[in-house]
Symmetry: C2
Subunit: 436 residues, 2 copies
């Protein structure tokens, strides 16, 4: 059943090489010879938004289970080996993908690939493995969410922002559903989604593409293709007609804050140039200390301790654009919310200047360059793009597409998408607090 030959389309643009094994595994090789180190990342095209209703948390739960043992490698052996050779490892689960990551010396790449290919298919999933790990995850949820008012509010804000799409459900899963996840759920999930034809391998570092190809063939190439999966079509949002608020008052909150969110296109769903304009809008409005929000609320008016904006650009489906601020001194939450809203209105009404657009592009592209300057940052950009519907070409033309955005497009993005009557605002308040 193992595919022994390498086939598929071959892409060669800049120095990045991509090919597909017979069993469907896409491999991307990113040369980076600055240091004797290699980043090996395996990305699965499955995340929490692919979970069945009522099974929230299984994608993240499964990420944990991947660190348990296989028939040939007992639990802990893979991690111990990485530690012994001074390497690093990690894993993360998001709405649209799950990724496993090791950073090691180049001569350890073959063994990383062997281990990673092994756990793609040979994991031992017994109740003895699953029960204790579920307890670990429940404890993780307790400490990260249940004891953090900000996280609790964030979860309910997301579930109020999205009313149909599974992005409304927290990646970690809801407590009452995690509690019920069992061996059958884990095995079904593993058999369905963990397969070479549902994965992308990114290898960045001091490696030769030809060598990576040979190694991939010897390791991952032996894993049989999994079931053909249907297109990743999730229920989409109905038209939004209302403004919504979500308020949490909690004695553990010392400083009030607010977040306001809108559902907007992602790079995958946007029309040409729209996601790029949203990226620059978030940069101009609230990307750091040179942004309009920070300068106005924190520096000039002195009413806020923080103020910013954030656009979750890489997502398979419609995503969110958010603003946030926290009052300082005598100012109330209502004061800072009004001031933020005024900054949005100013962009929607008057647009942005050519000078600030140019500066934002420069900062934005520079931050991309910084990300690329890190080997693992680079691997993450490729992995997240390729598992959310993008291509290698998309990544390579990204800076040019950012450069092409006009001031009108930025203004129009604010006008079209940041409508107050269709916003969803979360308020985090001290016990008994109010906004005014």
């Amino acid at each position: 059943m193992a595919a022994e030959t390498v086939s598929g389309t071959q892409q060669q643009s800049s120095d990045v090489t991509s090919f597909v094994l017979d069993n469907g595994l896409q491999v991307v090789v990113i040369p980076d010879r600055r240091a004797p180190v290699v980043t090996h990342m395996l990305w699965y095209k499955v995340g929490s938004a692919d979970e069945d209703p009522g099974k929230s948390g299984i994608a993240h739960f499964f990420e944990h289970l991947m660190f348990k043992g296989t028939e040939s490698h007992p639990a802990g052996e893979f991690s111990r080996r990485i530690a012994e050779i001074g390497g690093q490892e990690n894993a993360f689960t998001s709405y649209d993908y799950t990724a496993y990551f090791q950073q090691v010396a180049p001569d350890a790449l073959p063994v990383m690939m062997a281990f990673e290919a092994d756990r793609m298919t040979n994991l031992i999933l017994t109740d003895e493995v699953i029960g204790p790990e579920r307890d670990v995850i429940l404890e993780e949820r307790n400490s990260r969410v249940e004891s953090e008012p900000r996280s609790l509010l964030g979860e309910e804000l997301d579930a109020t922002l999205y009313q149909n799409h599974p992005y409304r459900i927290p990646v970690i899963g809801w407590m009452h559903e995690i509690e019920k996840l069992n061996r059958t759920d884990a095995i079904d999930f593993y058999r369905r989604y963990y397969a070479p034809n549902n994965a992308v391998l990114i290898v960045a570092g001091d490696v030769e593409a030809g060598e990576v190809r040979r190694l991939a063939q010897e390791t991952y190439g032996k894993v049989p293709r999994g079931p053909d999966l249907p297109p990743r079509v999730r229920p989409s949002e109905p038209e939004q007609n209302t403004a919504r608020t979500v308020t949490l008052s909690d004695p553990r909150v010392a400083t009030p804050s607010f977040r306001k969110a809108w559902v907007v296109p992602s790079y995958t769903t946007a029309e040409d140039g729209e996601a790029e304009a949203l990226d620059l809008l978030s940069e101009i409005l609230g990307g750091g200390v040179r942004s309009r929000a920070y300068e106005a609320l924190v520096v000039e008016q002195g009413i806020a301790s923080s103020a910013g904006a954030w656009y979750q650009s890489d997502a398979l489906d419609e995503t969110s654009f958010q603003i946030y601020a926290s009052p300082r001194g005598e100012a109330t939450l209502q004061d800072v919310e009004k001031a933020m809203d005024a900054e949005i209105a100013r962009i929607a009404d008057e647009g942005v200047t050519e000078a600030e657009l140019a500066a934002a592009k420069k900062r934005y592209v520079r931050s991309l360059i910084f990300a690329r300057d890190s080997q693992s940052g680079m691997a993450r950009i490729y992995g997240s793009t390729l598992t959310t519907g993008g291509t290698i070409e998309d990544i390579e033309k990204w800076p040019d597409r950012i450069e092409a955005v006009t001031a009108e497009q930025v203004r129009d993005a604010a006008r079209r998408h940041l409508d107050q009557s269709r916003s969803v605002t979360g308020y985090l308040l001290p016990a008994g607090g109010d906004r005014s």
Copy 2:
């Protein structure tokens, strides 16, 4: 394949008879000899909350398709026959059930049963049938929801109240999902849910149980059993930690109003006596012109044109308790909301008096008697109870269980369930309006 014999448990309490055909159809006969009329209702244990994600509206769409033709009876023939004999018919879809209803002279019962049994299995579902009916439903949605700000707000309020359970999705379906419903969806739905073992037949009127049994056997008894369906377990709500609001400002709104909702137990999910206490709480707080809310806001303070409460008691899963009011004269929406909240707080703090509890029980039981006094009202009570997890015994003991509720239970229901910090409030405002 047709089951020709009658079997199953037999229940005989009061005058109501119940039996189950070999193919799984439950039949309930309710004698009512006051007039020469019979109510024939077929209830399917499927509603919008059973729909697959992304397929909202298919349950209601299917209700429409049931009025199209079968191989032996072309479209319109059934309805024409009912009209010719001076009968009435109707159908309705809810979250948990779909029902078809005819009211005719007793001698027409056999032909009603034959028609209804025929369309349980022989419906012709071609694109020629489905396409035009989808247009009818889109138009229905346009006129009932899209052009009604109150309905638009109601939909988004429900989707904000329920964040995981399918009660968040409108029964009629979301526009963008109805648009995509097709023949495959309809056929899948029909084959899965329209079968004798997923239905309850209610026959009320001037009929003999033995005769109904013989007729049911001859008609429905010939329909083969459908697939065994899994238990109706839907995703349930996570713990709610926030207060939420949903606001719609619309030029079509003349008078502002608000609705506040909580997720509460239904008769099916409640512990002993809790649903009965919620029923009486809704009666005392806001059930008509003798209720506390009406007397306080409308009569005494004169600040509201309407004020009331409403408990959706019959539901398979956790359901909602709602209050509502609309300001009058100089009063603002905020004024009436505060006044309503004060009435709730008064019950939670001080409880209700024995006198008003006794009066509420009397009004409540009387309204049940009125409902039972109508033949179709009676049939509806049996149908909705039996398709949402209740039994005939539950219906018969209902008045006794209401009588047993104590003032403390009513107070505790308000304390436990009507918590302002976990409420979801909808505001309907004129264009540019606010709450103060």
